[in-house]
Amino acid sequence: MKYVDANTVQKRMNTRILKNNILKYLFLIATLFGLFVLAILIIQVLRDGLQWIDWNFLTGKLSNDAERAGIMGAILGTFWMMIVVAPVTLILGIGTAIYLELYAKKGVFQSFIQTNISNLAGVPSIVYGILGLTIFVRAMDLGNIVLAGGLTLSLLILPIVIVAAQEAIRSVPQHLSEASYGMGATKWQTVKNIILPAALPGILTGAILALSRAIGETAPLTVLGIPALILPFPEGIFDKFTALPMQIYYWTLDSSLVAEYVNLAAATIVVLLLLLFLLNSTAIIIRNKFQQRY
């Protein structure tokens, strides 16, 4: 006895297939929507900012006069901050990842740290700003200098770097470390000679992406108190500073005071996006170039 009637099945078949095809295009449109907005955003920013970018703008000092204003100070501020952030997060991030992946005993404590890290990754950046203000600016009395900003951003991206490093370490095939242990290598020898070199491209890729997150962060810096006007270029990590995103923020806010500030903000955005683009390309190149075949 047949329950499934061939005729009804046939009839329904066409509507079912049609529905499938229509929705497929709807889904595609939704996917492209984000890219469409991205395109508009970039076009908008380029239109407002591109013709304001010239040598003077890139190398000049800040100024109230839109025609004269330059962002070298902000570029240097961002640069020095990264000089702090990069080594701090790399050392702490890789160290923590190695500990969690390779040394920590699976158990309550390890999963506590792990939960803690994934929660930290979800803490709003402005809260890190308050932490930085309280600890680095106030308690350690550093003031709002590059070092304070850099340490604050380091804490902010540390969870990201840790997780990326953990993933990179985890993705080193077990059979490689087994081979090393099988030769009588100790744990640290295996970590140092086999696991870390194999994981390094993954770690670097993750770290660079995290750095580019730090470069664009504004909220924590607003809490640390970056002056609206500061002319001298920072010459080290103990100087006061401004940074690219802060400059975008102030110029956007003051755009109704001086109309051209919108253009300055847009031009700075172009520079910032370009910087991020470079960093991301580096990450991709590293990933592709050093991708291992196991």
Partner: protein, 277 residues
């Protein structure tokens, strides 16, 4: 397998294998396992294993998937301890010393008991560095000595001629069979006494398989070899003794000929006749 097919395969086996089979009972024991039990957390993976292996013999371990073959093998060089939840009771003596004793340094044990894995797993380094890895971590730094070790080991694994002109190239440029021989060479470089092999040919094509099988017959002259295989014919071809594992137990352990021609246990027979999966 049905009846008449075996009459044919019979012939095959005779020509390629039987001649190499030798059985010694007077030899020295290498591993002496008594009442070995092993748990992965709650999973009782090895149950009361009693098994002796002998010097300069090939011991094969066969059994269906999940029966504990790899686990037993990895217990012999304590690689199994890399799984954190592992619990072991019982005793394993290696040349008379208890290896489960914490005073026996694993690094030490593993320089005596080398291991070759199922999937060829060279390091993502040059061929040279792959072989030199073991000697280096043990503190040998002299370029000259390393050169000698590399050549000797590669020759030992019958791969020297194929790679001698490309020692600086990445090991992943080699074919699967070459990689597996490289891994064997890498093990030879630290001059172990025993070589454990976990399905070393299961990822290889028939031709490479044959080469490795031949190599095992060669190595047997100098090393004691314990090999896990899911290929019964392979066990029949190359081993002196065969242990049949099932659900973590040793169902039968005997000279290879006996196991295959005259199994004493029904389950062994079932397995050999292909009643599993």
């Amino acid at each position: 397998m049905s009846v008449s097919m075996t009459e044919k395969s019979n012939i095959n086996l005779k020509t390629t294998v039987s001649s190499k089979k030798t059985v010694h009972t007077d030899k020295d024991k290498v591993f002496h396992t008594r009442d070995l039990n092993l748990w992965y957390g709650q999973t009782h993976a090895l149950k009361d294993i009693n098994l002796d292996t002998y010097e300069k013999e090939v011991t094969a371990i066969i059994g269906p998937s999940g029966c504990g073959k790899s686990t037993y093998l990895k217990t012999l060089n304590r690689m199994v301890e890399l799984v954190p939840s592992v619990k072991i009771t019982g005793e394993i003596n290696y040349n008379g010393r208890s290896i489960l004793d914490k005073s026996f340094k694993v690094e030490d044990l593993r320089t005596h008991v080398g291991m070759v894995f199922q999937k060829p797993n060279p390091f993502p380094k040059s061929i040279y560095d792959n072989i030199a890895y073991g000697p280096r971590i043990h503190g040998i730094k002299s370029k000259k000595i390393l050169d000698e070790i590399v050549e000797k080991s590669l020759r030992g694994a019958y791969i020297w001629d194929e790679v001698k002109d490309r020692l600086k190239e990445n090991a992943y440029g080699l074919s699967g069979g070459q990689q597996q021989r490289l891994c064997i060479a890498r093990t030879l470089a630290i001059e172990p006494d025993v070589i454990l092999m976990d399905e070393p040919t299961s990822a290889l094509d028939p031709k490479s398989t044959l080469r490795i099988e031949d190599l095992i017959q060669e190595l047997k002259k100098d090393y004691s070899i314990i090999i896990v295989t899911h290929n019964m014919q392979q066990a029949a071809r190359i081993s002196d003794r065969t242990a049949f594992f099932l659900n973590g137990e040793v169902v039968e352990y005997d000279q290879t000929d006996d196991i295959f021609t005259n199994p004493k246990d029904n389950r062994t027979e079932d397995y050999i006749s292909g009643r599993f999966g």
